[in-house]
């Protein structure tokens, strides 16, 4: 069974590299962030409909997207964080010249269970919760209940952005924090767990969760775009070299009217 799985994955890799090297042809491969995933998928569907060019989208985390781009197995790496210096140098050594194109802006929403009365937290309080210094909701004006801290796996761009913006790069997240593999998993855990706190892309924060104001500012398209919401970040389509041909058309989609409409519908924020 395991050997079969290995064979299949090898076949998949072979197929993937085959499609990747066929960049000049009529298909585009996107790999990377689960946060950018819904956007990339909608763009892909739109693109396929309009230009009849097949676009494949995988969601394996920003780190994997960068890796795929460096290994030339995708045309576009979708990322929710900028490239790291190590990734840039690895790309250079493999002859890849990564160019980051901003596709949209996104806020990282801090979410809690809908029954939680806490409405607002400061970045310092959130940092203390994730560092393990605050462990009970009563310490931040809530009921007497322990906090279930939920974070993302280390290959998540959202996790890295959150850590850099809130917890601080040098501070470790508490060892009691649960780790989930995707925005969707965080959403399901937080919406089902009374004492939970989590963070996810604004587009994922629907009515099954309660968004918390950060430093008194609620995450909305307006506050993210004008920069008053403290936890916002750009989302990228990273390409190898300046995009050209159909890849350029796809990367420029956010500048078009239809592209802006897709971005708005999914709860992301236009940059242009």
């Amino acid at each position: 069974m395991k050997r079969l799985g290995k064979k299949l994955s090898i076949a998949a890799i072979v197929l993937l590299t085959a499609t990747g090297s066929a960049e000049a042809g009529n298909s585009i491969v996107i790999d990377g962030s689960t946060t950018v995933g819904p956007l990339a998928k909608s763009f892909a569907a739109y693109f396929t409909r309009k230009y009849n060019i097949a676009v494949t989208v995988s969601e394996s985390g920003s780190g994997n997207g960068a890796k795929s781009l460096i290994n030339k197995s995708c045309d576009i790496a979708s990322m929710s964080r900028p490239l790291k210096p190590q990734e840039l140098s690895a790309a250079k050594s493999k002859g890849v010249n990564p160019i980051s194109n901003v596709v949209a802006l996104d806020g990282i929403a801090i979410v809690v269970h809908p029954s939680n009365p806490v409405r607002s937290l400061t970045t310092a309080q959130i940092a203390d919760i994730y560092k393990g210094k605050i462990t009970n909701w009563s310490q931040v004006g809530g009921p007497n209940a322990n906090i279930v801290v939920i974070q993302r796996e280390s290959n998540s761009g959202t996790q890295e952005s959150f850590k850099e913006m809130v917890v601080g790069k040098e501070n470790p997240v508490t060892r009691n924090a649960e780790t989930q593999a995707s925005n969707g998993a965080v959403k399901s855990r937080v919406s089902l767990t009374r004492g939970a706190i989590g963070f996810l892309g604004l587009g994922f924060a629907d009515s099954s969760l309660k968004k918390v104001a950060v430093n008194g500012v609620m995450p909305t398209p307006v506050t993210v775009k004008n920069g008053t919401y403290p936890l916002s970040r750009p989302l990228y389509f990273v390409t190898n070299g300046q995009p050209s041909g159909s890849v350029k058309q796809l990367v420029d989609l956010p500048k078009s009217v239809d592209g802006k409409k897709i971005i708005n519908e999914l709860g992301f924020i236009n940059k242009y």
Binding site: K67, E153, R175, E178, T179, R194
Partner: protein, 387 residues
């Protein structure tokens, strides 16, 4: 008659074959033998190759970071700067969920196997066994989904009552048995029939009251427990035990069946009851097979990845207190699966090699337990055959 004639004809013609034909026969024979040997050798070589390649990528980790951090620290921050690779909590998490699932699956599996082989009528067994074996056909991701979406919220909202009812369901028959058996054993030395019955009645009612109080108060205590997070070691242990059950039931039932009819009938003929036959004759005779079943089941639980990845909560800390199954844990397999994507030459080599170190550790654990069980089986066989 006819066959025998053919055989002798074949044999006699074999005596008169030409040298050339004999040579051909010899070549065919050695070709056939070497083919069989080759196939057998490939299987063994695959195991060695896996060991070699895992070890080859694991050793650099210990060269870079040494042994002590990996085995003694529970600070697991592979992505931080500087990174820390303390895997103690993760190793502990793996052992914890494996032990938890064994605690549930082993007694259940053996009891179910005894029921299938010696209690249920044959016609019913034919239907029940395939249903149990069907559990093995459910893909692990489906189990994981069930654990995450159904069992976890259930534990969070009704954790206390669920624990209480489970305690009552399991403890009631056991305590009942214990009361009857212990009161009977304690009065065995009294020779006077009437007096013995009187004493037994008093003892049984006293034990009964203690048992009922125990049931009630432990149940009340359990009911008050509030489970903070449903993705915890208990959840994983339950699901893993479901996954190990079909293996344990099926292999131990085969072992029990392998104890022949003659043993059972011999025991009955000597006047033993069914309970005595099962406990004193069949179980000891089948013990090596049952042990093999248990080891197979435990290995299944130790190596399982998807369920653990989805349902354990993945927090790399040792629960407080250490036996608290209601906290979330992280296991070796889930860490390998979760970190593999990020860890390669791009992000620094220790981060990549540490996962192989974990893989090697898992391999070593399963080799050791396989080896031990093999030894026990051999010794058991020797004892049973009277050597």
């Amino acid at each position: 008659m006819n066959e025998e004639g053919n055989a002798t004809a074949g044999r006699s013609s074999a005596f008169v074959v030409s040298a050339r034909k004999r040579k051909l026969q010899k070549i065919t024979k050695s070709a056939g033998e070497s083919l069989l040997f080759l196939v057998a050798a490939i299987v063994a070589i695959i195991v060695l190759f896996i060991f070699y390649f895992v070890a080859r990528d694991a050793i650099p980790f210990f060269q870079i970071r040494g042994f002590s951090e990996f085995f003694t620290s529970s600070e697991w921050y592979p992505a931080d700067d500087p990174p820390r690779f303390g895997a103690l909590a993760i190793i502990y998490g793996s052992l914890m969920v494996t032990a938890g699932s064994a605690l549930i699956a082993v007694p259940m599996g053996i009891i179910a196997a005894i029921c299938l082989s010696d209690v249920l009528p044959f016609s019913m067994r034919q239907y029940v066994k395939p249903v149990i074996e069907m559990l093995a056909a459910i893909p692990s991701v489906a189990f994981g989904f069930f654990a995450l979406v159904i069992l976890a919220p259930l534990l969070q909202s009704f954790g206390g009552p669920i624990l209480m009812w489970t305690w009552w369901l399991i403890a009631t028959p056991f305590l009942l048995l214990a009361v009857i058996v212990s009161s009977e054993l304690l009065v065995m030395s009294i020779s006077d029939d009437v007096r013995r019955q009187q004493v037994q009645r008093i003892l049984a009612s006293a034990f009964g009251i203690v048992a009922i109080l125990l049931l009630f108060f432990v149940g009340r205590g359990l009911q008050k427990i509030e489970i903070l997070t449903g993705t915890n070691a208990l959840n994983v242990s339950i699901i893993l035990s479901f996954m190990a059950l079909p293996t344990i039931v099926s292999v131990s039932e085969d072992a029990l069946q392998a104890v022949g009819r003659d043993m059972r009938e011999g025991s009955y003929a000597l006047g033993a009851t069914r309970a005595e036959t099962i406990i004193k004759i069949i179980l000891p005779a089948a013990s090596s097979g049952i042990l093999a079943a248990v080891i197979l089941g435990i290995m299944r639980a130790l190596g399982e990845t998807m369920v653990v990845w989805m349902a354990s909560g993945n927090s790399s800390h040792i629960p407080d207190p250490w036996f608290n199954y209601l906290e979330s844990v992280r296991t070796l397999t889930a860490t390998i699966a979760g970190d593999m994507g990020e860890a390669d030459q791009v992000t620094g080599s220790a981060r990549f090699h540490v996962l192989f170190a974990m893989g090697l550790l898992l391999l070593v654990i399963s080799f050791i337990s396989n080896f031990i069980s093999e030894r026990i089986v051999v010794r058991q066989r020797k004892i049973l055959s009277g050597q």
